[in-house]
Structure formats: C-alpha cells, structure tokens
C-alpha cells in the first residue's frame, strides 16, 4: 500500500475531521470601514490616549446570548484601548458609525474568490459578529460573506472552499490580567480576508500543504500585508467520539501537523479518561468555602491570598484518584486542563490532590480537616483554589464544570497554540455557538456588478500562470518552486523588472545566497530592499562583478549606506576594458610565457572580486591568437 494511502486510512480510521480558516491581512492604504492608516506605528510612537471600557453580553438577533460571549462577560474585565494618532479614529473606538467599505479591499477579496474558483455572492451584506473578549471596542467584528463554493487541488486532493469573508482585523492584545486587558487599536479594522475549507482535509500533512498553497496564492497577488501576524491559520479538528476544537494562533505553517497530532492524542486521552471515570463511577462535589481551615497556614500561595482578604474554596472529586495527574499531552495533565478553566476567573491556578502535597507545605491536620469538610477519604481527590473573594468561587465553578465534563468526554473549545516546544495548546474559551451574527445596519450592502466580477477574474492570482511565467525566465526548476513559495517573490519580480539583471542570477541571490550568508552569521534581515536593488543595478550597468554582490550584501547587513560609497571604500569597482587589458599584459609578463592559464590564475588571485571572468577570458583568448 502506498505511504499516502496508508496515511489516509490511518486518519480516516480515527474519524479525523479537519478544516482550516486562513486569515490574511490585505495591503490597502486605508482600513476597511474608516480612512485610518493601515501601517503599524513604530515602536517608539506613544499612544495619544487610553480609553477604558466594559462590555456586556447582550441578546443577539435571535434573542439568545451567545455561549462564549457570556463566558467572557463573567470575567467582568476592564478593557483599555490604546489610541494612536494616525491609526485610531472614532470609528475604531465605537464612537462613530462606519464609513463605506474600502473599495480596494472589496476588489482584492473578489479577485481571491476567483483564484479559489468560488461563486461571488450577488449582494454582499455587512454583518456584525459578536466578540466579547474585548478585542473589538464595539463588541463586534464587521464581517461580510463574499463568495461561496470554491475548490482547489492540493497534493492530489480536491479541497473544498465553502466560504470566503472580508472582515475587520481585531485589536492586538498588549497585556492582560484578571481585571484588565490592554489592547492596541493600531491594527484594528485593517481589512482581513478569511478563507475556510470544509472539514474533510484527510490528514495533518495535507492540512499543512493546504495552508501553504492558499498562503502562496494570496501572496503572489501582491495585495496582502507581509510580516509577523499578517497571516494566521485557525485549525478546526475532531476525531470520532471526541469534539470539535478550534486551535488558534499557529504562527508557523510548518507546525500545523505537529499541533494536529497532539490534539488527536489529547482527545484520545480524554476519551480514555472518560472510560476510567465511568468505570470508577466518579462524581464531582459542590464548592465549599474552606478558608477557616487555612487561617494560620504556612502554604504560601494560600496565605498570600488570605492576607489580601481572599478566600479558599474546595470541592471533592470521587473516583478521580490518579486521573487528575494523567498526562493528556506532553507536559499537560487533566489537572492542567481543569486549572486552565479556573484561571479564566482570574485566579493564579489550583491545587489538586494528585500533586505532591509536601511541595506546597500542607500540614497533616490541614489535610485531615479539608478531607473531613469535603466528606472524602484519602482515596478520593479534591481541588483547592485560593483567590480573591469574587474570583475564587467563580473559578471553582468553572473548574467543577470542566471536571464534570471529564465524565462526558472532550469539550468543544477554542484553544490557543501557546507552546512551540511541545506543540501543545491551552483552553481559551468555549467554542462559540452560531447565534452571534446580526446585520450591520450602519453600512450599506454592496451590489456586485458584472464589471466587478470581470475585473476579479482578470486580476485573480493564478499559481499555474505564475509558475509558467517564472519557468520562462528561470531555468532551474527547483529555484522556480522556491520562488513561488518565497515571501520574496514580489521583490524578485520587481528587482528583475527594475534592474534588468539576469533573473536566474537574481533568484539565486535572493533565494539561496541570502540564506547561505545567514548561515555564516550575516544579519541579512538588516539589509533593506533598496540596498539589494541598488546592488543589482550596479551589477547590471557593469560597475561591479557578480562576485562583488556578496561583499556588498555583507557590508549592507552591517550598515545601511549608499551602495556607491561601499563600492568606493571597499574598492569593489569592476576593472574592465583597457584597465583589464593592462592587468592581463602585466600577468603575461610575470608568468614568463607559461601561457594563458597561468596569467588567468595570477589576475584572478589578485582581483577576484573586481574582474569579470568572461571578459578576462575573451581578452586572454585574443592574446593567444
């Protein structure tokens, strides 16, 4: 059986379901619903104001409060929004109605829709999607369904793309604690497209390829932002008997399959745990205030809270012995999963009885009193939470909910990819239910005209055409593939166009040479595009040789300065024509008639960086005659 087929059968036996949501920021000059700048301010720029807000879960269009919205509200947090002079306006701050949608962004979205072979909707309807984690000052994100029912082919699989959206970027989180979350509004409202696949990606490896291919198609359009955070992949997956989980924030495409394999493992472990708990007829008790037991405790994490007028809350878990400490993912136990829920209420964490009680410094009498209070024996388990008066009881309720769910199986969750050494994830919030959409009545629908569709078809980025074009100017097939996948593709095309330099050579330098230099410790990321462009110009007009490019790049990595100054200082100017003839004559004399090979050796050993090999050759060949 071929390896791929084996792989597919293995995952299909697990009941593996997987779909992707790709979010990509567009490179428009203005935001989607206001004329704010889309360029992120420099690190030195100070916000001009902070605005503080509180949000509330409200009944949506269908009268029901969204589950995840309500969950966030329980945290009752203050949201602080940093306001930047050119990047934040009253629209961003929910102080002014939205302006008309940015036409450029709509055009880009339609052209991507065509690239994914989708049907563009006839009238685009702006919607509000409830968002209550505070990342949007309006408590909703404006979003529009742009196209439906497309498909792309990846690694021999037909991958359906049921929908594409054009929406607003959310704010970036700057800091967060139990009471306050601080958001930067600079990127808020930048146009973003979301491309969703259906849940039938056959395995984690193909999931990675799908993400890669969609990312590439978007990038070759030249209409998207680049850099950290400009593209994000959310991965949805489930296995048989498990539950749908959305993993957010996988930054590096190469890691998608690793995160997926770990999520499969986590769900399998949780299913195993459920069976163990069922067999043990496990139960979870109610939360009890046990502060009095710890009035004079030596346990630092409890006494610290009690000093601040906090409380200690505990509940019993019968039949959980050994289960709380069971690892469900590398370095994550069931106890960790429960703790992540408790932390949502703003507590530091929890203590569970599968941990080493000596580590915390429990006295024997404290343990005895606690067990007595909860009515459990030493064979049962407990969870203990210390925290603020209003936080600890809520945290205990979250923890109880999660502990009880261990008897049901895998909860539907949104999880954050937060650990790139183990590729594990962390609970963020319950998976939102569907009732969180309502029409954005402040913005008009966009009627899609035939002209708009025709333009989209014409401007749609096309991977095959791109490959054909690149193959026509670059012979090396591997290099063509590398170019297509490279974030530097557009720069490559621009360089070839503007300098007239040999495309193969330019591709070699941009794709391979820079990587080589990086490996030898040159800080290539310091080199500005303009510098590289100037170096190729100098090469193409004969000012320098091919070999000198390396030296130029090394110098540019150290300091950004005019290329011509580096050439003068480092004596990189090409010796050609009469100058080179003079060098050849001298070398011929010096070689004492040993022939042109010796003369070539002499010239190159002294002037390797400034002499063009083929010019030297033709002079030497002339001498022979």
């Amino acid at each position: 059986m071929p390896a791929n087929q084996q792989e597919n059968e293995r995952y299909s036996a697990l009941g593996f379901m997987c779909g992707l949501e790709i979010h990509q920021r567009l490179a428009t000059s203005e935001k989607l619903f206001c004329p704010c700048s889309t360029s992120i301010p420099s690190k030195d720029e100070k916000p001009i104001a902070d605005v503080s807000r509180y949000q509330k879960a409200v009944a949506g269009e269908l009268g029901a409060i969204d589950v995840s919205a309500e969950f966030e509200e329980q945290k009752n947090r203050e949201f602080v929004y940093r306001v930047y002079k050119d990047n934040t306006c009253l629209v961003d701050l929910d102080e002014e109605p939205p302006h008309s949608p940015n036409r450029e962004a709509v055009a880009h979205a339609l052209s991507f829709a065509k690239a994914m072979n989708m049907h563009i909707v006839h009238e685009i309807q702006p919607m509000r999607k409830a968002v209550v984690d505070g990342s949007d000052p309006s408590a909703f994100q404006r979003t529009m369904l742009v196209a439906l029912n497309g498909a792309i082919d990846v690694d021999g699989h037909r991958i359906n793309i049921p929908s594409m959206f054009l929406e607003e970027e959310s704010s970036g989180i700057e800091s967060a604690d139990a009471n306050t979350a601080v958001y930067n509004t600079d990127r808020l409202g930048i146009p973003l497209i979301e491309i969703d696949t259906d849940p039938h990606i056959p395995n984690p490896r193909v999931a990675k390829l799908v993400a890669l291919q969609i990312g590439t198609v978007l990038r070759i359009s030249g209409a998207v932002q680049r850099g950290i955070g400009s593209i994000r992949q959310d991965v949805n997956m489930s296995i048989k008997d498990g539950a749908r989980v959305e993993i957010k924030g996988v930054q590096e495409l190469d890691l998608i399959d690793k995160f997926l394999d770990n999520e499969i493992l986590r769900q399998q472990k949780l299913i195993e745990i459920r069976e163990r708990l069922k067999k043990a007829e496990a139960t979870v008790g109610v939360a009890k205030d046990v502060t009095h037991i710890f009035a004079n405790t030596n346990i630092g994490i409890i006494s610290n809270q009690l000093k601040k007028h906090g409380v200690a809350v505990a509940f019993s878990l019968r039949g959980f012995k050994g289960v709380l400490g069971t690892e469900v993912n590398p370095n994550k136990r069931l106890g960790t999963e429960i703790s992540d829920y408790a932390k949502m209420a703003g507590v530091q964490g929890l203590i569970h009885s599968d941990e080493d009680m000596n580590k915390y410094g429990f006295s024997e009498s404290e343990l005895v009193s606690l067990r007595k209070e909860l009515g459990v024996s030493a064979n049962d388990s407990f969870i203990l939470i210390a925290g603020g008066k209003s936080q600890a009881p809520v945290a205990a309720n979250h923890a109880i909910w999660r502990a009880k769910y261990a008897l049901v199986g895998v909860p539907k969750e949104t999880r954050a990819a937060n650990d790139n050494s183990y590729y594990t994830t962390k609970f963020m919030r319950p998976l939102p239910s569907g009732s969180r959409m309502y029409p954005e009545t402040d913005a008009r629908p966009i009627l899609v005209t035939g002209e708009m569709v025709a333009k989209a078809e014409q401007s749609a980025p096309n991977l095959d055409n791109e490959r054909k074009y690149l193959s026509s100017i670059v012979k090396n097939k591997a290099l063509v593939e590398q170019l297509i996948m490279s974030p530097r593709l557009l720069f490559f095309k621009r360089t070839v166009q503007e300098t007239g330099a040999d495309p193969e050579f330019v591709a070699n330098v941009i794709i391979q040479k820079l990587t080589e230099l990086r490996r030898t410790g040159v800080e290539v990321e310091m080199i500005l595009d303009d510098g590289i462009m100037a170096a190729f110009k100098a090469y193409n007009d004969g000012t320098i040789t091919k070999q000198a490019i390396d030296e130029l790049l090394k110098a540019l990595a150290k300091r950004d300065e005019p290329v011509m100054e580096i050439i003068a200082r480092e004596r990189l100017e090409r010796i050609k024509g009469k100058g080179l003839i003079k060098l050849v004559d001298e070398a011929m004399k010096e070689s004492g008639g040993k022939g042109i090979d010796e003369a070539r050796k002499i010239v190159m050993s002294r002037h390797r960086l400034v002499v063009d090999g083929s010019e030297l050759n033709s002079i030497l060949v002339g001498r022979m005659g």
Partner: protein, 454 residues
C-alpha cells in the same frame, strides 16, 4: 422593501419572509431563511440568512428555483426580567419614551426599532433592581427628533405624578438628539421640584455589548435614588471611557458631538456631580437641595408654540422677521454672532436687520439675543451694534444657551403675560443663567481626564 416582482413571486410560490427555503439561480444555490429587505439594499436582490449566520444577497430572476422547506418562526420575544422588589431600597420611577437607549436591531427588518416593552430593558440591565425599587412607566416610544412640547408636557405631568405618589426620584429615558431641549423644558415645567430627575439615553444602541446605555442607566437610577439634587439633570458619559457619568444641569446641557458617548457637555457651568461605575456620587458644583416638604410637585406645562429660534449668519435675510410676525409669533430668540450681534450698520439694505427687529419689537414680539459661540455670554454694550439692538428692545440673555433661551421663552409666554415674560427672560429661574463666568467652565483640553499610557 423588496420590489413588487419579488413580492408577487413569493406570493405565487406561497412563501413568506422568514421562511426557510432552498433557492437557486444560474450560478448559485443557497439554503436559509428569507430576510426582509432594508431600505439600503438593492430591491431586486433577495437576502438569505445562511446557517452560518451570515446574510447574503442573491439576484432575483423569474426563472429561479425556490422551494419552501419550513415556515418562519414566530416573532422572537425577549425573555422578561423578573423585577424582584427588594425591601429597603428607594423607589425610582423610570419613564420610558424611546430613543437609542431602547433601540434594538430588528432582525425582521434589519433596521433599528424601538423597544415597546420596558421589561426588555430590565432584562438587559438586571443590576438596576439592586440599586432601587424600579417602577417602569412606558409613556411612548418615539425618536427624539419626533418629540415636541406636547410630549414634554406629558413627561412633566408624569414626573410630578410619580413624585407625588412616593417616588424618591425619577429617571426619564429619551433620545439624545433633542434631549437637552427636553431637559430644559422639564426644568422650567417643574418649578418647585424637590427630588432628583435624571434624564438619560444612549449614543450606542443597547443591542451591542459596548453600549453606553448600561452605565448611563445605572448611574441615572443611582442618582435618582440616592442624591439630594432637587433639579432636572442630564446623566450621560463624562468621557469616551466607561468610567463615570456627569450630571449636567438640564438647562446647561448641550449635545456637542453627533456620535461620541460623551457628546453632552455642561456649557458655561460645570457639572453638578459625577457618578462613577460603583455609583459613588461626587458633588462638583452648587445645586438646589431636596428638603423636607409636604408640598406637592407642580407641573406647570403651558407652552407657547409660536416662538422661533433664528440663526444669524453672513448674508442672512432679515425678512424672516416679517414672516414670523405675519404668522402671529410671540417671541424670537436670535442666535447672534460673537457677543450677540446681527448685521446692523451695513450699507447693503437687504442684509440689515436693525429695522426688521425694531418692527418686531414694536409689534410686541419678545426678541432675545444669544450667541452661536455657545460658550461664553452675550454683551449689550461693548459694540455699538449691540447698544442699538438693545435700544431696539432686544433682550440680552447673558450666558444662557440658545436652545435653553428658546425653551424658556416658550414656557414664559405660555405661563405669563408678555411684559412679565420679557422681564423674566434674563432673570435666573432654575440655574439656566448666572452672573459669574468661571475659568474652569470652558474646557480647552480635549483629552482632559484621559491620560495616555497609564
């Protein structure tokens, strides 16, 4: 609204708005609920709500396929709040008149509609019942731009009635567009008020989690329940942040921004007090205190509707005075330039107001002068123009807001003879004007109170 063709097509196919259908045209097949069409969209496109929650438009054609899968759900009603009456809390009457504070996005029409059931408001702000014993009086449900003195009269009567039947204070929810006119009118119509009357509203509708309605409402109820301010005041956000509300004297409040939540500013006066998120009241200015009294609250609601508010501007045509005069108007408030001026010395006769104003005062029309600068007071003796206007009988209204002067003159002419009304126009009755201009009353720093990088 959908085009007639679409509505006929639906009728023919036995389909109503709200039904779940499968629908397909040449290049698209959808399944979902038929949404009503807002005035904003293309009338020849059918809007479908998909299961994902997204709405999307599909172009109508006579030959498209449509099949009804299920009938639409009945109109969704909001769960009603159980208003539990806690013992020992002060009683507050909440008079509800409509506006954004009671607005919802209507999923049927896609537009903003006004709540008709006040319980829906309590459902969304259940904490209200922890502050006071709330009695809800739905008076009407209209946009504030549609509100006239006929509604102000009803509100004033209802306020007096509530206070006379034992409420500690009253909250009036109202649309923000004309809130300051209404607050002014209530200030004059309730001359012997002995309890707090908070007028509040919202700049963002309460269907969104970021609405200012929640804090405005809780702060207003707290002020009505616990403060001893025996005045009508506007209670709205003090800044763009959800940190505190300002209680602004009803005759001094003005909407100074079309959309910000801190749109209402106290003009030529500082706010009476601030109420923070924890409902702590910090007093900030002099105010009339509620005292022990058995006297009933009077509602003196007579109102003269033939009063105009006229804005002066370069090239403005003074013949407007003759128009109002011919229509039997009793009073005109001018919103003059600068210290209170109109063109009076110009050589261009068609722009000279002086004679026209003289004609009006000669006919017995009360003419008052305010300033379109909004901030600051008018002055009748700095420039000769003003001296001449004053001589022509124009009454200079000190530091009174143009809108307040307008409402005041309507009320005065409704309740007094002409001479008495003219005499009282520039006498302080309920805090609408004062002699001294405090330095701190004109806020220069637009970011005051919002320190960056905290």
């Amino acid at each position: 609204m959908y085009s007639k063709e679409i509505l006929d097509f639906f009728k023919k196919k036995g389909i109503s708005i709200g039904d779940r259908v499968s629908i397909s045209s040449r290049d698209m097949a959808l399944e979902g609920e038929i949404m009503p069409k807002t005035e904003a969209g293309d009338r020849a496109t059918i809007v479908i709500k998909l299961d994902s929650g997204y709405n999307t438009g599909i172009k109508f054609s006579e030959d498209m396929d449509i099949e009804k899968l299920a009938s639409g759900k009945a109109e969704v009603s909001f769960p009603k709040a159980k208003v539990t009456q806690k013992k020992g809390l002060p009683k507050v009457t909440l008079i509800y008149t409509g506006g954004t504070i009671g607005s919802k996005v209507d999923y049927k029409s896609g537009g903003v509609y006004t709540l008709t059931k006040p319980e829906e408001l309590l459902y969304e702000v259940p904490e209200l019942s922890n502050i006071a014993n709330i009695e809800i009086v739905p008076l009407f449900s209209i946009f504030s731009e549609d509100m006239s003195y006929l509604e102000w009269q009803k509100i004033a009567e209802k306020v007096a009635e509530s206070l006379n039947s034992g409420s500690n204070g009253v909250v009036v929810t109202i649309g923000t567009d004309t809130m300051h006119y209404a607050a002014s009118a209530l200030s004059f119509m309730l001359p012997n008020l002995n309890a707090p009357v908070a007028v509040t509203g919202a700049q963002r509708s309460s269907d969104r989690g970021s609405s200012d309605a929640f804090m405005n409402l809780t702060c207003a109820v707290a002020a009505a329940a616990r403060s001893d301010i025996a005045e009508v005041f506007v209670c709205m956000h003090a800044s763009s942040s959800d940190d505190r509300c300002a209680l602004i004297r009803g005759t001094r409040a003005r909407k100074m921004h079309t959309s910000r939540r801190d749109a209402f500013k106290s003009i030529n006066d500082t706010p009476i007090a601030f109420v923070d998120r924890a409902h702590k009241i910090t007093y900030n200015n002099n105010y009339k205190r509620a005292g022990a009294s058995d006297k009933k609250t009077d509602a003196k609601t007579s109102f003269e509707e033939r009063v105009a508010l006229v804005k002066i501007h370069p090239n403005s045509n003074p013949e407007i005075m003759e128009f109002y005069s011919s229509k039997g108007y009793k009073g005109i408030i001018l919103e003059g330039t600068g210290l209170g001026h109109v063109a009076a010395t110009t050589q261009h006769r068609q722009f000279n107001w002086l004679q026209h104003i003289r004609n009006a005062t000669d006919k017995g029309i009360v003419v008052g002068m305010t300033s379109q600068c909004i901030n600051g007071r008018v002055h009748s003796s700095v420039y000769s123009t003003a001296r001449e206007l004053s001589d022509a009988g124009v009454i200079y209204c000190d530091d009174m807001l143009p809108e307040t002067a307008y409402v005041k003159l309507c009320w005065l002419l409704g309740n007094h003879r002409r001479e008495e009304a003219a005499r009282l126009l520039n006498r302080d009755l309920v805090g609408e004007m004062k002699k001294r201009s405090g330095y701190e009353e004109f806020e220069e720093d637009e970011y005051a109170g919002e320190s960056a990088g905290k």
